[in-house]
Amino acid sequence: MLDIDNIRRQFPIFSTTTKTPLVYLDNAATTQKPLVVLERLQRFYSYENANIHRGIYQLADDATRHFEKARSRVAQFINAKYPDEVVFCSGTTEAINMVAQGLRKYLSSDHQLVVTAMEHHANFVPWQTVCNQTGARLRVIAVKPDGTLDRDQLDAAIRQKPAVLALTHISNTLGTINPVHEIVALAKEHGVITVVDAAQSIAYDHLDVKDLDCDFLAFSGHKAFGPMGIGVLYGKEEQLARLEPYQQGGSMIIKVSEESTTFKPPPHGLEAGTPPVAEAVALGTALDFISGIGLSKIKVHNHSILLYAKEKLSSLQGVQQIGPENETSSIVSFLMKDIHPHDVATILGESGVAVRAGHHCAQPLMQALNIHGTVRASFTIYNNREDVDQLIDALKTVEKVML
């Protein structure tokens, strides 16, 4: 059994003495940071700070080594073949933009790109934009009323051999877990480039990119107990090499003359400018933190809290859970009678319960489900049953206030 109290104590935010203790149920938006990660950031800036890949002195050399060690740590965590298949960037959003713009030169009106109606805007708008730029067509796969993908439609679309399939592993709104292994395998059979948005999976379940066999995969450090401002684009070596660098500048070049420039190969050729070095290093620490507890144990804990929350929510009259009944990550989305999600969230906030309300950056999904928004509670390793009980108590207050 995990000692949740002990884990919770490692997160300074829960020890602050505010008027009401924090019940943090917005982990799908960002997780809190454990002390080891905060200390790692501070240690870098206090004692190790230098720009990387350029200084001919010990401090710079050490900083470069820390940064490259973090790259190896990420590669190991997702079981990439080589560290150089890991490109550091600012987050999932930048990673996906890097792929979409990096493939732009290969796209034309002869091509189709496939996304789903369940995508976060970060895995939707960059594809829509590159379609507008190149004349390629964007095909949006429907979501069924139960919050799962329309597999028939998706499989048929894949058989038409689109250029790219961009798909989220886990829906940030409903927690739906897509069978990415099966889908990627089918896409591979038809020669489709696959891009997996793993923003919600990185701290939820083991990711093994060799086994998954996708071409690209993106995630953000801040949703995995790491700092904001650092994220990862994984790409198979030969796929990264095809990407046109979407930003140019320092660090990513071999030779520059007035007439032309040669770029470094990936990953460095895709990392223009000074990267967030301390954040990358601290992301490595965050992944160590996760491995230290064990992702399997984290998953079991999160699932038990989710089931407890779902059971408690279904005992409340007028609460309607949105999304699949089974096969969800530690996210539950719901509506309360006809009360606007923001009214619910304001009243919960007054009780110290932090949830997300609104469209969750997934407007096409809201349109598909014909709703305006939801209230979303999302759980992780430091949440306990008391957090859920407080959520339920606060929801009872909502009823009292609003009805």
Partner: protein, 141 residues
């Protein structure tokens, strides 16, 4: 329940958001405006008819939280009979009343003014008002 929460979700706001007067589509309106907040998805159509330069009829339809509904309901109730200039004065006066508790103001506006004390909710009580303000300003410019 906190005092500020009680003041915000005052019965006047809750009654107002359920009040259906002027909550109706008017596809034939001379002017249809859209008040939209991309953060929460609140979206109202505001229907305005003019007689010379005076608003003769106003109604609204759409989706929003209790605060945006109540404040929009108040807005369309106040608009008829006002010229462009008077509309702008009325909106400015509403904004002053939201900010300044020394202003002489109705209990409903007192309650709406509490929105600024809640994270992310200040926008709800000015959404439709801003939309009408921008429309009138552009029309006059």
């Amino acid at each position: 329940m906190s005092e500020s929460l009680k003041k915000l979700y005052n019965h006047l706001i809750l009654d107002r958001q359920k009040d259906l007067s002027n909550f109706e589509k008017n596809e034939n309106a001379q002017i249809t405006l859209e008040a939209y907040n991309p953060v929460c998805g609140d979206q109202f159509k505001l229907y305005l008819d003019f007689d010379n330069n005076t608003i003769s009829k106003a109604s609204y339809y759409g989706y929003g939280c209790s605060l945006s509904r109540a404040s929009t309901s108040l807005l369309v109730e106040l608009l008829p009979g006002k010229s462009g200039k008077e509309v702008l004065e009325c909106i400015q006066s509403y904004y002053r009343q939201l900010e300044d508790d020394k202003e002489d103001r109705s209990e409903l506006i007192k309650a709406l003014s509490m929105a600024k004390e809640f994270p992310g909710r200040k926008q709800c009580v000015v959404l439709s008002w801003d939309t009408v303000k921008h429309f009138i300003q552009n029309k006059r410019a």
